[in-house]
């Protein structure tokens, strides 16, 4: 129950920050994807079942607030959360840099999937924007993961 309320609170705060502060955190004109950072960070802490459910709900909320196709972010966030745990298995140990590396890899997958699906459903993809996203989005997400993940991990261990 604690985990549920914590996730709900975290999700609401994240959505509020994504639509306010995140607009000012730009690298190469690309905005931080805080929702994805939180989804991946919590997935690495709470495991596969949580990753799937939280990824889906965070995605649905993103779809309603920032999305252009209902279900797209829900699908991509859920798959990204699921994959993040598979990617993490490649690495051994608990080095603090591992979540950041996972975040970078998963962000690339996220960018690839969202653009492929949007393009397949007839949405225009701006080339310059896509290239900037491929380069800068993983960097900025990875950097924020480096700061945020230890905090969420600490709260997660308190909840456990």
């Amino acid at each position: 129950m604690k985990k549920f309320f914590f996730s709900l609170f975290l999700l609401l705060i994240t959505l509020a920050i994504q639509s306010t502060i995140a607009n000012y955190i730009l690298v190469g004109g690309i905005q931080l994807n805080l929702v994805l950072v939180i989804v991946i960070s919590t997935s690495l802490i709470f495991g596969e079942f949580f990753a799937i459910i939280f990824g889906f709900f965070a995605g649905i909320c993103s779809d309603f607030l920032f999305g252009h196709i209902l279900g797209l972010f829900a699908f991509v966030n859920m798959i990204s959360a699921f994959i993040s745990l598979r990617v993490k298995r490649i690495f051994t140990g608990e080095h603090y840099i591992i979540p950041t590396i996972v975040m970078i890899i998963v962000t690339e997958i996220w960018v690839f999937l969202t653009h492929i699906i949007s393009f397949s459903l007839g949405k225009e993809v701006i080339q310059g924007n896509l290239i900037n996203k491929i380069i800068y989005q993983p960097l900025i997400n990875g950097l924020v993961m480096l700061i945020i993940h230890p905090i969420i991990k600490k709260i997660g261990s308190l909840l456990k």
Binding site: A16, S19, T20, F49, I53, L70, G71, F75, M78
Partner: protein, 283 residues
Amino acid sequence: MREVYKKVMALSLPRRKNKIILGILIVLCIILASFNLKYQNILPIGKSIILEVVSPLQEAVTFLINPFIKSIKTINKLSNILEENRILTEKTNTLLKENIYLKELERENRELRELLGSSYYEQFEIKLAKVIGKAKTGWKHSFFIDKGTNHNIKINMSVISQSGLIGRVITTSRNFSEVKLITDPNSSIAAMVQDSRKTGIIQGIGTNTLKFDLVPKEAEVDIGDIIITSGLGGIFPKGIQIGRVSDIKNLDYELYKTIKILPACNFDNIEEVLIITNFTSLD
């Protein structure tokens, strides 16, 4: 052997369960996307619910960060102040000349208005709203504002600023609304050149510039020309400034001119917007 089998099953069952849930949710996503593509009205219903929950938090965060954002903007402005001063001095000289001419026009206009009755703009009622959040992705450009159906805000109402057109209301909840910006890739506005009255369609392209489409190649359009709403389509009132022409190309393989427009509003700095509440849209 049975013991080993039981242990293996006990280990693999949660994983299999997770995969089943994942499969169900993937199917759900596909169903949602299909419904959304067929019935466009699903998104606004869910959005108004989410808006009611998230917007108070957005409002609080905006309230907290605004002083910091303003300070950073002031520091940035200070570094450009000398150059800005030179440009402003030049502009003042030009504006002084224009002012004399405009005063004459104003007098003439007042006389004509008295002859015709009330002015066109005086008929509009305007409501002020604060921008509490933004959604800016490659596919979507929108603002969240702190006024909703409780404040008589309705879908398709035009949203403007002192500089010009911002967009239109696309979703409303009780206390909050979403405004689709003119830069949104799905935004189309009937527009015309203020001087030559040549009409076309202004389209958002997901960047900070706009595309002025369907303007014939022989039409007279120059860089710097002001583009205003034409009133066609019935959503936006006629005569609201959209922006200025920043680039024109006559490409051989295109049927129409390729015109880029720089919006009159700087969407990154807008904190407050004005909503025209009594213009009746045609749909």
